[in-house]
């Protein structure tokens, strides 16, 4: 199915931010914004809620902590207790550093993996660039026809009034 988009490009972040607010005020839904760096204030303007990815960190961290503790207890107390300098088999305090390291390692890796999955970033993915230079110095505001019908001239007008350098329609196959 081909998708139809309206792409407006801007040359600075503030104009873009104002345009996003104006577009939202006019009851259009912003499909996405493309920018060379994260623009602060855009989350609120676009109505993006805070990412829940930190929950992945928390949950995996808890699991990793439990695993690390259980693993060390199992190996040192149950499976093969080894008398080293008369220390107790269950030297729980001595297990703390490795519990900490494994918690950090596994929760960190899981968080990044979750980001890649959620944002669908993977090696070999063909990048979909809505405008030239969005990774360099151009900012693009994109509306999708299905969410925000832009055939009426209203969308064009709002974007033009709010300082868009260039507006054009674009179709993508997917």
């Amino acid at each position: 199915m081909s998708k139809s988009f309206l792409v407006a490009t801007f040359s600075d972040a503030d104009t873009l931010l104002h345009a996003v607010r104006a577009v939202v005020r006019e009851d259009f839904k912003v499909y996405d914004v493309y920018a060379p760096y994260p623009i602060h204030g855009l989350d609120a303007a676009m109505g993006i809620r805070r990412s829940r990815l930190p929950w992945v960190t928390f949950i995996v961290g808890c699991c990793a902590l439990t695993f690390a503790l259980c693993f060390q207890l199992y190996t040192s107390v149950l499976d093969w207790p080894l008398n080293v300098g008369g220390k107790p088999d269950n030297s729980t305090l001595a297990f703390v550093p490795i519990c900490f390291e494994l918690t950090v390692l596994l929760s960190g890796l899981a968080t990044v993996a979750a980001l890649f999955l959620r944002a669908r970033l993977y090696p070999g993915k063909k990048e979909l660039l809505f405008a030239e230079g969005v990774t360099d110095d151009t900012f693009a505001l994109v509306l999708r026809r299905r969410e925000s019908p832009f055939d009426s001239n209203r969308a064009w007008k709002v974007l033009q009034e709010n300082g868009a350098d260039r507006i054009r329609e674009r179709e993508t196959e997917s």
Partner: protein
């Protein structure tokens, strides 16, 4: 948070009062000459697209020769055993472990800059974080080399990881041993640093991908940039994940050198058996790391023409951190001596007398000169903004911190409890050659890095120039700053 104010001032109505400008500090400027976004991309990508200059080739030649020397000497070490070093029954750890602690320490500044300063919202980090993180990774690689080659049978180095099934039956590693903690700490540190570094580079790799005209460059950058297209929905998640990783890396970096210090502190040896070690080592690590960051950046900013991004103000900030951590280190030295005297332990007391008057006293005084006296010169603003002076200071810091570890390790070992077990350590050509070789490995990696990857985080710089800086300085995440007129 909106900073729009409409309060009455001196009884005047709000509308008029608002016209009275509230004095606000000007936002700090971290990039000179106010470049446009495209200028930033061009400036930072230029070294990757041009042919390397003569200076780079000379540096690379020297570094690569040292790396080859490392390969040769380590091969010889594997063939002959660690007897080719100057180790003996009294001093079983010397250059190898000194180098290990030294290199791990160097790495710490990178994580401090990229993670801790991110949490503190220090914008000056943006110009230097990428290269400092790269430095961390290469330094930890150098560090990891030493415990491995110090093992009598380095081909069995994997025994240190718990795995199953193994040839020893279900015999596990001793989880009570700080040496095992070290393995986990260093490998976690290396992994998380690598991931953090790579994650931070993805948007820049996409920029380079879109700049590349074709061929292998486009393919490689395309593969590495994971299809990044600058979507703000992704940016929003990306920033949260960066923050989470910074939050994880902060206690991690503090834990790594604490655990390294426990290799010593949990033993009973006078000079090692002290509770002050973890914070003392962490401060020393950051101190030495900033020394190395200064050395590297002073060279690269002039050879790569990046003075616009790595300004004197950045060097000034780094000098201040160096001075602060240098003073913490000095305080730790003092505390050690005080505890030795006040603690009343005969062996501990002798160790510190021996440290200052024994056969290795010159190492101790060199350490004091470099780590206690040198950072004091940084009180002077002129010193902090003189590139040549800072360069000398940074070299002194590196020398001083290497000697600190040498003093801790060798001086403690060479005269422990029983005078009959005393001895001296004299380095052989292999001790020195492998130390030099590790610098070769480090600088070869770093020089390649500045040629093939963007050494300054373009997207972060873009975020702090101009209006972005003003907003971030006022840390208004939710709402843009508006002035009520």
């Amino acid at each position: 948070m909106s900073t729009t104010t409409s309060i009455s001032v001196n009884g005047k109505p709000p509308a008029e009062a608002a016209r009275i400008q509230t004095p606000v500090l000007a936002p700090p400027v971290w990039v000179d000459e106010n470049p446009s976004l495209r200028d930033i991309t061009d400036d930072i990508a230029r070294p990757l697209e041009a042919r390397p200059g003569k200076g780079w080739w000379i540096c690379f030649g020297i570094a690569f020769a040292a790396l080859l020397n490392l390969v040769g000497m380590v091969s010889w070490l594997f063939a002959k055993g660690i007897g080719i070093w100057g180790l003996n029954n009294s001093v079983g750890w010397a250059f190898d472990i000194t180098n290990f602690v030294f290199w791990v320490g160097i790495g710490h500044a990178g994580t401090l800059i990229s993670a801790i300063l991110l949490l503190f919202r220090q914008q000056w980090r943006t110009s230097i974080n990428r290269s400092a993180e790269a430095m961390t990774i290469f330094a930890v690689m150098c560090a990891g080399l030493f415990p491995a080659i110090h093992m009598g049978r380095p081909w069995d180095a994997f025994f240190i990881f718990p795995y199953f099934p193994n040839q020893r039956g279900p015999l596990w590693v001793n989880f009570r041993s700080p040496l095992v903690w070290d393995v986990f700490a260093i490998s976690t540190y290396l992994t998380i640093s690598l991931v953090f570094w790579y994650l931070g580079m993805i948007p820049d790799l996409a920029t380079l991908r879109d700049r590349a005209v074709g061929g292998i460059k486009k393919f490689v950058f395309g593969l590495l940039s994971l299809g990044w297209n600058g979507s703000h929905r992704t940016w929003a998640r990306y920033e949260i994940v960066s923050l989470v990783l910074a939050g994880l890396a902060t206690p991690l970096v503090l834990s790594v050198h604490s655990i390294v210090s426990m290799d010593f502190a949990t033993s009973l040896l006078p000079g090692w058996h002290t509770t002050i070690f973890p914070p003392y080592f962490v401060a020393g690590a950051i101190y030495s790391g900033f020394g190395m960051v200064l050395t590297l950046l002073i060279i690269t900013r002039s050879t790569m023409n990046l003075q616009r991004y790595i300004t004197l103000r950045h060097l000034d900030k780094m000098a201040k951190v160096t001075m602060l951590t240098g003073m913490i280190v000095s305080y730790a030295y003092l505390t050690e001596f005080f505890a030795a005297w006040y603690g009343g332990n005969l062996y501990e007391k002798y160790h510190f007398i021996n440290r200052a008057t024994g056969p290795y006293a010159w190492c101790f005084y060199l350490m004091v000169l470099c780590n206690v006296i040198t950072p004091q010169m940084l009180w002077v603003k002129k010193a902090r903004t003189s590139v040549a002076f800072l360069f000398i200071v940074s070299i002194m810091v590196n020398i001083g911190m290497w000697f600190e570890r040498f003093v801790i390790i060798v001086v403690s070992l060479h005269r422990a409890f029983l005078p009959s077990g005393w001895g001296m350590f004299y380095p052989t050509i292999f001790d020195i050659g492998i130390l030099v070789g590790s610098f070769g490995l480090f600088f070869t990696c770093f020089l390649l890095f500045i040629r093939v990857l963007p050494m300054i985080a373009m997207w972060e710089i873009k975020g702090v120039v101009g209006h972005g800086a003003h907003k971030m300085a006022l840390s208004s995440d939710e709402e843009e700053v508006t002035v009520n007129v």
